[in-house]
């Protein structure tokens, strides 16, 4: 990978990753979002996660829909291909991209409007196919780019700045993903980079559909008092169900019995979950659903890796596609040729 562009001016120190790249090689264009927007913190976490995993930037692909959140794919991984598509269709376009080239790392960035309103059907069916991708919802409870209407994730009774009240119950991406059978389901908060970065890394390593619902306050339209998506509310109501422990050294006796859950990934490697609640089991879908609901009833925002099953086949596994990416297949291996054509026409006589 010698040809990855090195940053001219090296800042943030000279720290380099396995590929000898600094974090700057994973950055993107200047953000045009509002100062303080939660989305920008997620962008930073993305940069960090790809840097730490040492994924060659040009092996990553960014796809997004439409919205402030969807714009952020331009703000990280400048050396990756990106596609800022149309509203709500990121899942299908990523499905096609992955169908064509199974080898690249696909990260889809979406918003609560982009995913839970116009894109709900595509979101659900990408889950159903266990599409091998990281799907990040930058969830702020409003339509930011269209100036603050309620989205489907706005909580019942929520008020806009202007005092309008939301009369619809929310659609919860976590419960939805649990019901649709997703194989990796996490929630985090844009304000907590240390919590978010490990989740992004785990999601990228997961084979199949990895969802991270990130609460990401909109400072322009949904960060006021009595908003349940504000920084203030989030900090006050976060409840971590299960943290990812980064370096194995720290997994020592100082964790109470049963609080550390090792999860084996398809590549044989193991990630360790530190559970705050011993009898919480992130491998039991029904119990996860129950657990999430109980905490919601208390008005808490449950974060962490809430459900994981890394044993399932992804779309290509289920389809039995050749491992070599279809885009790199020689035409000669795809075209049956003139003789085959002649013989197969016999049955049409």
């Amino acid at each position: 990978m010698t040809y990855i562009r090195k940053p001219n001016i090296a800042y943030k120190g000279r720290a380099t990753n396995a590929l000898g790249l600094t974090e700057a090689s994973y950055e993107g264009a200047m953000s045009t979002l509002c100062a303080g927007c939660g989305h920008d913190s997620i962008t930073a976490a993305m940069t960090r996660a790809f840097f730490e995993l040492g994924i060659p930037p040009n092996r990553a692909v960014k796809v997004s829909g439409i919205g402030c959140s969807s714009k952020t794919t331009a703000y990280f991984l400048a050396q990756s291909h990106g596609y800022n598509t149309v509203h709500g269709r990121m899942p299908s376009i990523t499905t096609g991209a992955s169908a064509a080239n199974s080898e690249l790392h696909y990260v889809g960035v979406s918003g609560d409007g982009d995913t839970l309103s116009i894109g709900l059907g595509q979101f659900a069916h990408a889950i159903r196919r266990n599409l091998n991708m990281l799907y990040v919802i930058e969830n702020n409870g409003v339509y930011g780019l269209t100036k603050g209407q309620f989205s489907a994730s706005a909580s019942f009774g929520a008020k806009t700045k202007k005092g309008e009240v939301n009369t619809n119950p929310p659609i919860d991406p976590i419960k939805t993903a649990l019901a649709m059978g997703a194989s990796f389901i996490a929630r985090s908060f844009s304000g907590d980079k240390n919590h978010l970065v490990p989740l992004i890394k785990a999601g990228l390593r997961h084979r199949g559909f990895a969802l991270i619902d990130v609460i990401s306050p909109c400072v322009s339209f949904n960060d006021h008092e009595d908003s349940s998506m504000s920084y203030k509310y989030a900090y006050a109501h976060l409840h971590t169900a299960a943290d990812l422990i980064e370096d194995k050294e720290t997994i020592t006796a100082d964790y109470a019995e049963g609080t550390v859950l090792p999860v084996t990934m398809h590549d044989g490697s193991v990630i360790h979950l530190k559970k705050t609640d011993p009898d919480y089991d992130p491998t039991d879908r029904a119990r996860a659903f129950d657990y999430v609901m109980r905490h919601q009833e208390k008005g808490e925002i449950l974060t962490g890796l809430l459900y994981v099953d890394d044993s399932r086949d992804d779309m290509h596994g289920l389809n039995k596609t050749v491992s070599q990416p279809l885009t790199t297949y020689d035409y000669e291996k795809l075209c049956p040729g003139s003789e085959a054509l002649a013989s197969l026409q016999k049955r049409y006589r």
Binding site: Y3, I4, R5, P57, N58, R59, V61, V63, T73, A74, A78, Q79, S80, H81, G82, Y83, N84, T85, V86, R89, P91, S92, I93, T94, T95, G96, A97, S98, A99, A100, N101, E103, L104, G121, Q122, A124, H125, R129, M315, N319, K320, T321, V322, S323, L326, T327, Y329, Y331, L334, C335, P336, G337, S338, A340, L341, A342, L344, Q345, Y348, R349
Partner: protein, 604 residues
């Protein structure tokens, strides 16, 4: 023309049955029988949007002259469906014949003095011979096959041969089926004379096959090297993806490992299947989707994204009768304009118009080359008639030296050399920029978007930068006009400045009309559009003919509208000949329209 005279190898048999009674295989067998006797045939299936019980018809035109359209007349009706008897008897041409199952009395009120009605106790004979109920239903079909064989003199060896092939898997069933066929055959031989409508071996089907357009198009996608198929089921397009799937199962699946060198994704709807196709095209696969009218409406937004962000994708629209759900099992050319202009804003799309299954095969391949060369959506605009009916066409052939035209895709080696990659620069003056594929050399990294962008690929809200790209797309459009297949042009024997201009499945009827008109001393030149944007030849044809009859199968003269929009031709020159009732075009409609015009000219 009266039905009875000189009808050697030139007549139409129509079989009326009920949906789900297994008559399809019997009818297919009859079609093949004529074909194997060396006689050109046309097979048209008029089926309901229903799975079981509703009336359905199959029409076989035996045509020694090798016409490819329906004749519009029925010489022999096999009326097996009491429910439609009244309608069926009406349809028989004067001097024609009708066969019915005399096991049950028919409505006397419906008799016609001008045709010959033949009652055959088909059910009775079959019920006497077979016990099982389901078997009886199937055997009744075979019985009318036998009866027809005797009536029009089909070679029984050919039929036996077909039966043997049909049941090669279950040879036990052969005797029973032959027995049923002979029941009908013998009854006719014993009780009535064979008809003046006669079949006789000839030698006009060698080097030809009987195939439908969807099967041929699916095969074309395999040969084009398409690896990603995304779709959502909809009549009449479903059989195209089914064909691609079964060909790939045979030809693209590793014998040992069972690994697939293709992937078919059944989307949750058409927005999804369009998105999947677009995403795969963007990533560098040859990807396609198959749909019909309602799907095109739903795909519009994504087609616009593909047009503006310049991503190749291939869409097959197998047209059916609209608007809305319309008549899903009837044919029409009602999507010509939506395919040409789909999506909001200023958008235009490349279209190909196959006229028969062979062109479905060839244009399927061509569509991928054009989509990648031009970096834009390409529609293959077919219809139910071409896609699902049985056509006799010359064998499909393949040039093994063919290699896909992947268009202007920069390789890593090329990227290494350049200093900076700009996605939307018109380097070559043909309006076609260079593209790179995800996963390429980082120098080729590109951020694609449906939002306003400048020629370097950056986002813009500046007027001149935006317009610059929009204008370059018009340059590309002009290039497209030079790349799409040229029209088929047939000059009249004698010079004329009148012409017929048409598209797609109207071809057969138009050519038959040309012959009939020539018989009457009316000479007409002929042009069939094969692609959009229109190539120079279309412009020239319009310019050089003072009167052009534009023949198409929709109400609003959509092709004519496109000609008005995209060529220099003046309105006054173009007279529409329209048929949009859901039945495939037949020559009589065209002949009538043109004869009227001639009469008017004379009167004036």
């Amino acid at each position: 023309m009266s039905a009875a005279q000189g009808r050697l190898n030139d007549f139409v048999v129509k079989i009326a049955t009920a949906n789900g009674t297994g008559s399809a295989s019997a009818n297919g067998l009859l079609l093949k029988a004529f074909f194997r006797m060396g006689i050109p045939v046309v097979g048209k299936n008029y089926f309901p949007s229903n799975i079981q019980g509703m009336p359905t018809w199959y029409e076989i035109r035996v045509t020694r002259d090798g016409y490819t359209a329906r004749s519009g007349e029925v010489d022999l009706m096999i009326a097996m469906n009491a429910e439609t008897y009244a309608q069926d008897i009406k349809e028989v041409a004067p001097g024609g014949y009708l066969v019915y199952d005399s096991t049950w009395p028919r409505q006397k009120t419906l008799s016609r003095p001008d045709i010959t009605v033949i009652g055959i106790p088909l059910s009775q004979m079959v019920n006497d011979a077979f016990a099982n109920a389901r078997v009886r239903i199937l055997m009744k079909n075979m019985a009318y096959v036998g009866a027809l064989a005797a009536l029009v003199n089909i070679d029984m060896d050919v039929i036996r041969g077909l039966i043997e092939e049909m049941f090669a898997g279950k040879p036990k069933l052969i005797p029973a089926n032959m027995q049923a066929i002979e029941l009908g055959y013998n009854w006719v031989k014993e009780n009535t004379a064979s008809l003046p409508l006669r079949a006789e071996r000839m030698d006009k089907t060698k080097g030809h096959i009987m195939i439908d357009g969807n099967t041929a198009a699916g095969l074309g996608c395999v040969y084009a090297g398409a690896t990603v198929g995304a779709w959502y089921p909809i009549t009449p397009s479903t059989s195209l993806m089914d064909a691609y799937k079964s060909f790939c199962a045979k030809l693209r699946t590793d014998k040992e490992t069972g690994e697939k060198r293709y992937i078919i994704v059944q989307g949750e709807d058409e927005l999804s299947s369009a998105g999947i196709t677009l995403g795969a095209g963007w990533t560098g696969a040859r990807a396609f989707t198959t749909t019909s009218g309602p799907g095109i409406s739903l795909m519009s937004e994504l087609v616009g994204l593909a047009y503006y962000s310049e991503v190749p994708m291939v869409l097959f629209d197998i047209q059916r009768v609209g608007p809305s759900t319309g008549m899903p099992t009837r044919t029409q050319q009602g999507d010509l304009q939506i395919c040409a202009y789909a999506s909001h804003g200023d958008t235009k799309h490349v279209c190909l118009y196959p006229a028969d299954p062979r062109e479905c095969f060839e244009m399927a391949v061509n569509a991928f080359d054009l989509a990648e060369r031009l970096q834009t959506p390409v529609f293959v605009v077919s219809d139910l008639d071409v896609g699902m009916n049985d056509w006799m066409v010359p064998d499909l052939t393949w040039d093994d030296s063919y290699r896909p035209d992947r268009g202007k895709v920069l390789s890593d080696a090329e990227l290494e050399k350049i200093t900076k990659f700009s996605r939307y620069l018109d380097v070559d003056g043909d309006g076609i920029p260079y593209r790179t594929l995800p996963g390429c050399h980082p120098k080729g990294a590109n951020f694609n978007r449906g939002a306003g962008h400048n020629k370097w690929g950056g986002r813009t809200e500046l007027s001149d930068e935006y317009q610059d790209v929009m204008d370059r797309l018009l340059v590309k459009w002009r290039t497209a006009a030079t790349l799409v297949p040229k029209p088929e042009i047939v000059k009249a024997a004698s010079g004329t400045n009148w012409g017929i201009l048409t598209v797609g499945s109207c071809d057969g009827a138009c050519k038959e009309a040309l012959a009939r008109l020539a018989d009457k001393g009316i000479a007409m030149d002929y042009l069939r559009v094969k692609g959009f944007p229109f190539s120079a030849e279309v412009e020239a044809f319009l310019a050089s003919h003072e009167r052009v009859f534009v023949v198409e199968q929709n109400r609003d003269a959509q092709l004519r509208g496109m000609l008005l929009n995209e060529t220099e031709a003046e309105k006054a020159r173009m007279t529409s000949v329209l048929n949009y009732d859901g039945m495939p075009m037949d020559h009589r409609i065209i002949v009538r329209a043109i004869e009227d015009a001639v009469a008017k000219e004379a009167a004036a």
